[in-house]
Symmetry: C2
Subunit: 192 residues, 2 copies
DNA sequence: GTCTATATTTCGATAGAC
DNA sequence: GTCTATCGAAATATAGAC
């Protein structure tokens, strides 16, 4: 069985593609249906609203971030977070490499996500991971310099690595090659 | 005179606000007009098309980036770019501090900008600054490690500094305080 | 589950009075 | 320079046959 009930999966795949190409708002259900080879109405069998497609993709992104943040929460003393950070960044890099499209979606459609953030369905389950991340970076028990370093390391990974995988930011260089260098650079950045 | 002919300026201000809140595509002219206290039709007296509002904001962003990139082009030998980079990042930080909303717009609406990039009006004058930036990072005469460091430094500034100014990423810490630390961190990052 | 309609809303844009 | 009124297009969403 299963055979073709994974139309739902195919919808999500195509939607993710198109949302990254033209943005969430700039993508119509008609376009998704056409690229998928079905009609618009078929999409409504699988998702009640267009929003729900974006929401599901958001939740997957959420699951990825949660694994990392849980490891952050597991650190007993807040001041030990700094020591734990390099390993977490490595995990983050692995996730970015494996789920680049999802991270790209999140980065490029913050406006659309902000809209559905108010939604009950969204607020119910999960606490926003960005919110949890923010709380860590507001912890006064951690020296400000370390907190800025942690935030900066995330930005460094995002720009250097995401640019390398998708846009060929560095020309014809293998992604793993760039990833290794990013790891080295970020680790250096984190030893204050 | 001048008195209220700067409705044009107010439109741009409100549009920049809304584009950052809900994205370019997610913002309707009706919303802009409402927040401004005028009607939709009034907007069309100042701008022929919705695109033109975005385009004007884009051109301002462009003017900012051009100053920095020109200094990059002024470096004779490509391999000296690495040595010149720290000073350029400092200039970049200054611009981000002074024009945070414009940088946010550019970061959050890459898709919308890509659409108008094909436009004749846009292509005429200026070559896209991101394209010029990309070309530098593809220059094989510069060691890959240095190029990744340069890209990473931009990401570090964007996340740490933009987060600090807008969202209070680090709690109640002054922006200039964060900015100084970002400078230090990025300079460290750039001495290979 | 997917289709052919079609209802409903909203958007960008224009015309013309003031 | 701003308004009211409206047009045409495109979008989301629904109804009902198959």
């Amino acid at each position: 069985m299963a055979e073709q009930t994974d139309t739902r999966e195919r919808i999500l795949d195509v939607a993710l593609e198109l949302f990254n190409e033209k943005g969430y708002d700039g993508t119509s259900l008609r376009e998704i249906a056409e690229r998928l080879g079905v009609t618009k109405a078929a999409l409504y069998y699988h998702f009640e609203r267009k929003e729900d497609i974006l929401l599901e993709l958001h939740l997957r992104m959420h699951g990825i971030g949660r694994g990392i943040l849980d490891r952050l929460d597991a650190v007993e003393d807040e001041r030990d977070v700094v020591a734990a950070w390099p390993a977490l960044v490595d995990a983050f890099i692995d996730e970015v490499l494996a789920n680049r499209d999802l991270f790209l979606l999140h980065q490029r459609n913050q406006g659309a996500f902000a809209k559905i953030a108010d939604d009950e369905r969204h607020q119910a389950e999960n606490e926003d991971i960005e919110e949890r991340f923010r709380r860590f970076l507001s912890t006064e028990a951690i020296p400000l310099d370390d907190r800025v370093r942690m935030a900066a390391s995330v930005g460094a990974v995002m720009v250097a690595l995401m640019g390398a995988t998708g846009g060929g930011l560095f020309g014809d260089v293998s992604t793993t090659d760039v990833a290794d260098r990013v790891r080295g650079i970020v680790h250096d950045m984190l030893r204050s």
